[in-house]
Subunit: 162 residues, 2 copies
DNA sequence: GCATCTCTCGTCCAGTTGGTCGAAAATAAT
DNA sequence: ATTATTTTCGACCAACTGGACGAGAGATGC
Protein backbone atom coordinates (compact mmCIF):
# COMPACT_ATOMS: atom_id res chain seq x y z
CA UNK A 1 0.00 0.00 0.00
CA UNK A 2 1.01 3.62 -0.12
CA UNK A 3 3.70 5.55 1.64
CA UNK A 4 1.52 7.59 3.92
CA UNK A 5 0.29 5.41 6.73
CA UNK A 6 -1.79 7.91 8.68
CA UNK A 7 -3.74 9.79 6.07
CA UNK A 8 -5.62 11.90 8.60
CA UNK A 9 -2.45 13.06 10.23
CA UNK A 10 -0.94 13.89 6.87
CA UNK A 11 -4.08 15.76 5.91
CA UNK A 12 -3.77 17.73 9.12
CA UNK A 13 -0.18 18.62 8.36
CA UNK A 14 -1.13 19.80 4.91
CA UNK A 15 -3.98 21.87 6.30
CA UNK A 16 -1.70 23.53 8.82
CA UNK A 17 0.93 24.39 6.27
CA UNK A 18 -1.74 25.66 3.92
CA UNK A 19 -3.13 27.87 6.68
CA UNK A 20 -0.10 30.12 6.57
CA UNK A 21 -0.51 30.49 2.86
CA UNK A 22 -4.19 31.31 3.22
CA UNK A 23 -3.65 33.95 5.86
CA UNK A 24 -0.93 35.51 3.77
CA UNK A 25 -2.88 35.78 0.56
CA UNK A 26 -6.51 35.32 1.48
CA UNK A 27 -8.96 32.64 0.49
CA UNK A 28 -9.74 34.00 -2.94
CA UNK A 29 -6.18 35.21 -3.36
CA UNK A 30 -4.63 31.80 -3.69
CA UNK A 31 -5.32 28.98 -6.10
CA UNK A 32 -5.03 25.29 -5.59
CA UNK A 33 -2.04 25.36 -7.91
CA UNK A 34 -0.22 27.88 -5.73
CA UNK A 35 -1.02 25.99 -2.56
CA UNK A 36 0.12 22.72 -4.08
CA UNK A 37 3.38 24.31 -5.18
CA UNK A 38 3.84 25.72 -1.70
CA UNK A 39 3.24 22.28 -0.25
CA UNK A 40 5.62 20.70 -2.71
CA UNK A 41 3.04 18.53 -4.41
CA UNK A 42 0.94 18.57 -7.51
CA UNK A 43 -2.53 20.02 -7.65
CA UNK A 44 -4.06 16.63 -8.28
CA UNK A 45 -2.29 15.17 -5.27
CA UNK A 46 -3.73 17.95 -3.15
CA UNK A 47 -7.17 17.22 -4.53
CA UNK A 48 -6.63 13.66 -3.48
CA UNK A 49 -6.65 14.75 0.15
CA UNK A 50 -9.18 17.57 -0.03
CA UNK A 51 -12.20 17.29 -2.30
CA UNK A 52 -12.53 21.04 -2.78
CA UNK A 53 -10.72 24.27 -2.05
CA UNK A 54 -13.41 25.08 0.47
CA UNK A 55 -12.74 21.85 2.38
CA UNK A 56 -9.05 22.65 2.54
CA UNK A 57 -9.74 26.15 3.81
CA UNK A 58 -12.11 24.90 6.47
CA UNK A 59 -9.58 22.34 7.64
CA UNK A 60 -6.87 25.00 7.73
CA UNK A 61 -8.99 27.39 9.73
CA UNK A 62 -9.92 24.76 12.27
CA UNK A 63 -6.33 23.73 12.74
CA UNK A 64 -5.31 27.30 13.39
CA UNK A 65 -8.20 27.98 15.72
CA UNK A 66 -7.52 24.94 17.84
CA UNK A 67 -3.77 25.37 17.89
CA UNK A 68 -3.65 27.76 20.82
CA UNK A 69 -5.52 25.24 22.91
CA UNK A 70 -2.41 23.12 23.20
CA UNK A 71 -0.15 25.98 24.17
CA UNK A 72 1.13 25.21 27.64
CA UNK A 73 0.93 28.09 30.07
CA UNK A 74 3.31 28.52 32.90
CA UNK A 75 1.24 28.56 36.05
CA UNK A 76 4.11 29.97 38.03
CA UNK A 77 4.72 33.64 38.61
CA UNK A 78 2.37 36.55 39.09
CA UNK A 79 -0.78 37.06 37.08
CA UNK A 80 0.93 39.92 35.28
CA UNK A 81 3.87 37.76 34.33
CA UNK A 82 1.60 34.99 33.08
CA UNK A 83 -0.43 37.43 31.05
CA UNK A 84 2.67 39.02 29.60
CA UNK A 85 4.00 35.61 28.61
CA UNK A 86 0.69 34.67 27.03
CA UNK A 87 0.56 37.90 25.09
CA UNK A 88 4.03 37.32 23.71
CA UNK A 89 2.90 33.95 22.43
CA UNK A 90 -0.23 35.39 20.88
CA UNK A 91 1.49 38.44 19.45
CA UNK A 92 3.78 36.33 17.30
CA UNK A 93 0.99 35.23 15.00
CA UNK A 94 -1.80 37.60 15.89
CA UNK A 95 -1.92 39.39 12.59
CA UNK A 96 -1.88 36.38 10.33
CA UNK A 97 -4.27 34.34 12.47
CA UNK A 98 -6.75 37.14 12.83
CA UNK A 99 -6.53 37.72 9.10
CA UNK A 100 -7.45 34.10 8.56
CA UNK A 101 -10.31 34.28 11.04
CA UNK A 102 -11.74 37.41 9.46
CA UNK A 103 -11.50 35.68 6.12
CA UNK A 104 -13.32 32.72 7.58
CA UNK A 105 -16.11 34.85 9.02
CA UNK A 106 -16.49 37.03 5.95
CA UNK A 107 -20.07 37.53 4.96
CA UNK A 108 -21.43 35.55 7.89
CA UNK A 109 -24.27 37.03 9.89
CA UNK A 110 -23.90 37.47 13.66
CA UNK A 111 -26.23 34.52 14.10
CA UNK A 112 -24.09 32.34 11.88
CA UNK A 113 -20.97 33.43 13.74
CA UNK A 114 -22.56 32.75 17.11
CA UNK A 115 -23.53 29.26 16.08
CA UNK A 116 -20.28 28.46 14.29
CA UNK A 117 -18.66 25.49 15.93
CA UNK A 118 -15.09 26.46 15.19
CA UNK A 119 -15.60 29.92 16.65
CA UNK A 120 -17.28 28.58 19.78
CA UNK A 121 -14.44 26.18 20.42
CA UNK A 122 -11.75 28.76 19.87
CA UNK A 123 -13.47 31.40 21.99
CA UNK A 124 -14.14 29.08 24.88
CA UNK A 125 -10.55 27.92 24.67
CA UNK A 126 -9.33 31.46 25.06
CA UNK A 127 -11.73 32.10 27.90
CA UNK A 128 -10.53 28.95 29.59
CA UNK A 129 -6.94 30.08 29.46
CA UNK A 130 -7.93 33.42 30.93
CA UNK A 131 -9.89 31.75 33.71
CA UNK A 132 -6.87 29.77 34.71
CA UNK A 133 -4.84 32.96 35.01
CA UNK A 134 -7.17 35.57 36.43
CA UNK A 135 -10.09 33.49 37.59
CA UNK A 136 -13.59 33.14 36.18
CA UNK A 137 -14.75 36.56 37.34
CA UNK A 138 -12.35 38.60 35.29
CA UNK A 139 -11.79 36.16 32.42
CA UNK A 140 -14.00 37.81 29.85
CA UNK A 141 -12.87 41.28 30.82
CA UNK A 142 -9.21 40.32 30.65
CA UNK A 143 -9.59 38.60 27.31
CA UNK A 144 -11.17 41.75 25.96
CA UNK A 145 -8.27 43.84 27.23
CA UNK A 146 -5.70 41.48 25.78
CA UNK A 147 -7.48 41.43 22.43
CA UNK A 148 -7.63 45.20 22.35
CA UNK A 149 -3.97 45.63 23.08
CA UNK A 150 -2.89 43.04 20.54
CA UNK A 151 -5.18 44.61 17.98
CA UNK A 152 -3.80 48.09 18.49
CA UNK A 153 -0.30 46.70 18.35
CA UNK A 154 -1.02 45.08 15.05
CA UNK A 155 -2.83 48.01 13.51
CA UNK A 156 -0.03 50.37 14.43
CA UNK A 157 2.64 48.06 13.13
CA UNK A 158 3.95 47.45 16.61
CA UNK A 159 4.90 51.08 17.06
CA UNK A 160 2.47 51.78 19.86
CA UNK A 161 3.45 48.67 21.79
CA UNK A 162 5.26 50.40 24.64
CA UNK B 1 -19.50 68.07 -21.61
CA UNK B 2 -20.52 65.09 -19.57
CA UNK B 3 -23.34 64.55 -17.16
CA UNK B 4 -21.28 64.24 -14.02
CA UNK B 5 -20.06 67.64 -12.97
CA UNK B 6 -18.05 66.81 -9.89
CA UNK B 7 -15.96 63.84 -10.91
CA UNK B 8 -14.09 63.59 -7.64
CA UNK B 9 -17.27 63.50 -5.64
CA UNK B 10 -18.71 60.85 -7.92
CA UNK B 11 -15.51 58.84 -7.67
CA UNK B 12 -15.79 59.05 -3.91
CA UNK B 13 -19.36 57.82 -3.99
CA UNK B 14 -18.37 54.91 -6.17
CA UNK B 15 -15.48 54.04 -3.86
CA UNK B 16 -17.72 54.09 -0.83
CA UNK B 17 -20.33 51.88 -2.42
CA UNK B 18 -17.61 49.55 -3.65
CA UNK B 19 -16.21 49.33 -0.12
CA UNK B 20 -19.20 47.41 1.11
CA UNK B 21 -18.82 44.99 -1.74
CA UNK B 22 -15.12 44.54 -1.01
CA UNK B 23 -15.59 43.87 2.66
CA UNK B 24 -18.31 41.40 1.89
CA UNK B 25 -16.37 39.35 -0.63
CA UNK B 26 -12.74 40.27 -0.13
CA UNK B 27 -10.31 41.93 -2.49
CA UNK B 28 -9.53 38.88 -4.58
CA UNK B 29 -13.07 37.62 -4.21
CA UNK B 30 -14.62 40.22 -6.44
CA UNK B 31 -13.94 41.16 -10.01
CA UNK B 32 -14.29 44.49 -11.71
CA UNK B 33 -17.28 43.04 -13.55
CA UNK B 34 -19.03 42.19 -10.31
CA UNK B 35 -18.29 45.57 -8.77
CA UNK B 36 -19.46 47.35 -11.89
CA UNK B 37 -22.69 45.35 -11.86
CA UNK B 38 -23.17 46.16 -8.20
CA UNK B 39 -22.64 49.83 -8.97
CA UNK B 40 -25.03 49.69 -11.89
CA UNK B 41 -22.49 50.55 -14.55
CA UNK B 42 -20.35 48.80 -17.08
CA UNK B 43 -16.85 47.58 -16.36
CA UNK B 44 -15.37 50.08 -18.79
CA UNK B 45 -17.18 52.96 -17.13
CA UNK B 46 -15.71 51.87 -13.82
CA UNK B 47 -12.26 51.72 -15.37
CA UNK B 48 -12.82 55.26 -16.54
CA UNK B 49 -12.84 56.43 -12.94
CA UNK B 50 -10.28 54.04 -11.49
CA UNK B 51 -7.26 53.02 -13.56
CA UNK B 52 -6.88 49.65 -11.82
CA UNK B 53 -8.66 47.41 -9.38
CA UNK B 54 -5.96 48.24 -6.86
CA UNK B 55 -6.69 51.95 -7.16
CA UNK B 56 -10.37 51.34 -6.55
CA UNK B 57 -9.64 49.22 -3.51
CA UNK B 58 -7.29 51.83 -2.06
CA UNK B 59 -9.86 54.56 -2.58
CA UNK B 60 -12.52 52.38 -0.95
CA UNK B 61 -10.31 51.66 2.02
CA UNK B 62 -9.44 55.29 2.56
CA UNK B 63 -13.08 56.33 2.37
CA UNK B 64 -14.00 53.79 4.99
CA UNK B 65 -11.08 54.64 7.21
CA UNK B 66 -11.73 58.35 7.14
CA UNK B 67 -15.47 58.00 7.56
CA UNK B 68 -15.31 57.65 11.31
CA UNK B 69 -13.37 60.89 11.46
CA UNK B 70 -16.49 62.82 10.55
CA UNK B 71 -18.67 61.07 13.11
CA UNK B 72 -19.89 63.76 15.46
CA UNK B 73 -19.61 62.92 19.10
CA UNK B 74 -21.91 64.29 21.68
CA UNK B 75 -19.76 66.16 24.16
CA UNK B 76 -22.55 66.22 26.67
CA UNK B 77 -23.07 63.60 29.30
CA UNK B 78 -20.65 61.52 31.30
CA UNK B 79 -17.54 59.89 29.88
CA UNK B 80 -19.25 56.54 30.19
CA UNK B 81 -22.28 57.72 28.24
CA UNK B 82 -20.09 59.21 25.52
CA UNK B 83 -18.07 56.03 25.27
CA UNK B 84 -21.19 53.90 25.12
CA UNK B 85 -22.62 56.07 22.36
CA UNK B 86 -19.37 55.90 20.42
CA UNK B 87 -19.25 52.14 20.75
CA UNK B 88 -22.76 51.81 19.42
CA UNK B 89 -21.73 53.78 16.35
CA UNK B 90 -18.62 51.68 15.84
CA UNK B 91 -20.31 48.37 16.54
CA UNK B 92 -22.69 48.81 13.63
CA UNK B 93 -19.98 48.33 11.03
CA UNK B 94 -17.14 46.94 13.06
CA UNK B 95 -17.06 43.52 11.48
CA UNK B 96 -17.19 44.59 7.87
CA UNK B 97 -14.80 47.50 8.34
CA UNK B 98 -12.28 45.40 10.21
CA UNK B 99 -12.58 42.77 7.53
CA UNK B 100 -11.71 45.39 4.96
CA UNK B 101 -8.78 46.65 7.03
CA UNK B 102 -7.36 43.18 7.53
CA UNK B 103 -7.70 42.65 3.82
CA UNK B 104 -5.88 45.88 3.22
CA UNK B 105 -3.05 45.01 5.58
CA UNK B 106 -2.71 41.45 4.43
CA UNK B 107 0.84 40.42 3.78
CA UNK B 108 2.25 43.77 4.87
CA UNK B 109 5.18 43.78 7.26
CA UNK B 110 4.93 45.67 10.58
CA UNK B 111 7.20 48.32 9.10
CA UNK B 112 4.95 48.75 6.10
CA UNK B 113 1.89 48.97 8.33
CA UNK B 114 3.55 51.52 10.58
CA UNK B 115 4.42 53.74 7.64
CA UNK B 116 1.13 53.31 5.84
CA UNK B 117 -0.62 56.64 5.38
CA UNK B 118 -4.17 55.36 5.55
CA UNK B 119 -3.48 53.48 8.77
CA UNK B 120 -1.76 56.45 10.38
CA UNK B 121 -4.65 58.73 9.57
CA UNK B 122 -7.26 56.32 10.82
CA UNK B 123 -5.41 55.48 14.01
CA UNK B 124 -4.70 59.08 14.92
CA UNK B 125 -8.32 59.89 14.19
CA UNK B 126 -9.46 57.26 16.64
CA UNK B 127 -6.96 58.43 19.23
CA UNK B 128 -8.17 61.97 18.75
CA UNK B 129 -11.73 61.00 19.47
CA UNK B 130 -10.64 59.17 22.58
CA UNK B 131 -8.63 62.15 23.75
CA UNK B 132 -11.66 64.36 23.49
CA UNK B 133 -13.62 61.98 25.67
CA UNK B 134 -11.21 60.70 28.31
CA UNK B 135 -8.29 63.07 27.90
CA UNK B 136 -4.83 62.49 26.42
CA UNK B 137 -3.59 60.41 29.34
CA UNK B 138 -6.01 57.55 28.99
CA UNK B 139 -6.70 57.85 25.26
CA UNK B 140 -4.54 54.95 24.09
CA UNK B 141 -5.61 52.74 26.97
CA UNK B 142 -9.28 53.44 26.37
CA UNK B 143 -9.02 52.85 22.64
CA UNK B 144 -7.45 49.51 23.38
CA UNK B 145 -10.29 48.59 25.73
CA UNK B 146 -12.93 49.65 23.22
CA UNK B 147 -11.22 47.70 20.45
CA UNK B 148 -11.05 44.60 22.59
CA UNK B 149 -14.68 44.71 23.54
CA UNK B 150 -15.86 45.32 19.99
CA UNK B 151 -13.63 42.54 18.78
CA UNK B 152 -14.95 40.05 21.28
CA UNK B 153 -18.49 41.09 20.45
CA UNK B 154 -17.87 40.45 16.80
CA UNK B 155 -16.08 37.16 17.25
CA UNK B 156 -18.85 35.84 19.46
CA UNK B 157 -21.57 37.00 17.12
CA UNK B 158 -22.80 39.53 19.63
CA UNK B 159 -23.71 36.87 22.16
CA UNK B 160 -21.21 37.96 24.78
CA UNK B 161 -22.19 41.61 24.51
CA UNK B 162 -23.77 41.97 27.93
C1' DG C 1 -24.24 72.66 -37.87
C1' DC C 2 -20.14 71.08 -36.15
C1' DA C 3 -16.28 70.11 -33.41
C1' DT C 4 -15.00 68.77 -28.77
C1' DC C 5 -15.22 67.05 -24.62
C1' DT C 6 -16.52 63.33 -21.03
C1' DC C 7 -18.69 59.27 -20.39
C1' DT C 8 -20.42 54.68 -21.51
C1' DC C 9 -20.49 50.47 -23.73
C1' DG C 10 -19.47 45.84 -25.88
C1' DT C 11 -15.83 43.17 -27.47
C1' DC C 12 -11.49 41.19 -27.40
C1' DC C 13 -7.24 39.24 -25.23
C1' DA C 14 -3.91 36.31 -22.74
C1' DG C 15 -3.65 34.33 -18.42
C1' DT C 16 -5.67 31.99 -14.43
C1' DT C 17 -9.27 29.64 -11.87
C1' DG C 18 -11.41 25.30 -9.59
C1' DG C 19 -12.07 20.86 -10.84
C1' DT C 20 -11.94 16.29 -13.72
C1' DC C 21 -9.77 12.32 -15.70
C1' DG C 22 -6.95 8.66 -17.27
C1' DA C 23 -2.62 7.01 -16.92
C1' DA C 24 1.72 6.15 -14.54
C1' DA C 25 4.45 5.38 -10.54
C1' DA C 26 4.93 3.49 -6.01
C1' DT C 27 3.96 0.41 -2.44
C1' DA C 28 2.21 -3.83 -0.31
C1' DA C 29 0.01 -8.52 -0.15
C1' DT C 30 -0.09 -12.86 -2.23
C1' DA D 1 5.75 -12.10 -10.55
C1' DT D 2 1.40 -10.68 -10.33
C1' DT D 3 -2.02 -8.56 -8.45
C1' DA D 4 -4.53 -4.67 -5.82
C1' DT D 5 -4.44 -0.31 -3.77
C1' DT D 6 -2.86 4.25 -2.97
C1' DT D 7 -0.51 8.23 -4.35
C1' DT D 8 1.17 11.29 -7.88
C1' DC D 9 1.18 13.43 -12.16
C1' DG D 10 0.29 16.15 -16.55
C1' DA D 11 -3.15 17.37 -19.72
C1' DC D 12 -7.51 19.18 -20.32
C1' DC D 13 -11.97 21.98 -19.72
C1' DA D 14 -15.33 25.78 -19.31
C1' DA D 15 -15.59 29.81 -16.79
C1' DC D 16 -13.71 33.78 -15.24
C1' DT D 17 -9.89 37.41 -14.45
C1' DG D 18 -7.84 42.32 -15.07
C1' DG D 19 -7.15 45.20 -18.51
C1' DA D 20 -7.06 47.37 -23.51
C1' DC D 21 -9.47 49.32 -27.17
C1' DG D 22 -12.30 51.64 -30.48
C1' DA D 23 -16.81 53.07 -31.33
C1' DG D 24 -20.73 55.51 -30.05
C1' DA D 25 -23.81 58.43 -26.84
C1' DG D 26 -24.62 62.62 -24.48
C1' DA D 27 -23.79 67.29 -23.48
C1' DT D 28 -21.53 71.74 -24.26
C1' DG D 29 -19.08 75.63 -26.77
C1' DC D 30 -18.69 77.89 -31.03
Amino acid sequence: MPKIIDRDKYRCELAERAAGFFSKHGYAGVGMRGIADHLGMSKSALYHYFPTKEALFLASTKVVMSRTAGAPIDTMGSQEAQLAALMDVLRANFGSELTLVFDYLRGKTPEEIASDEAMQISLSTYLNIMERIVGPERASQTLSAVMGELMLDYLSGGVLSD
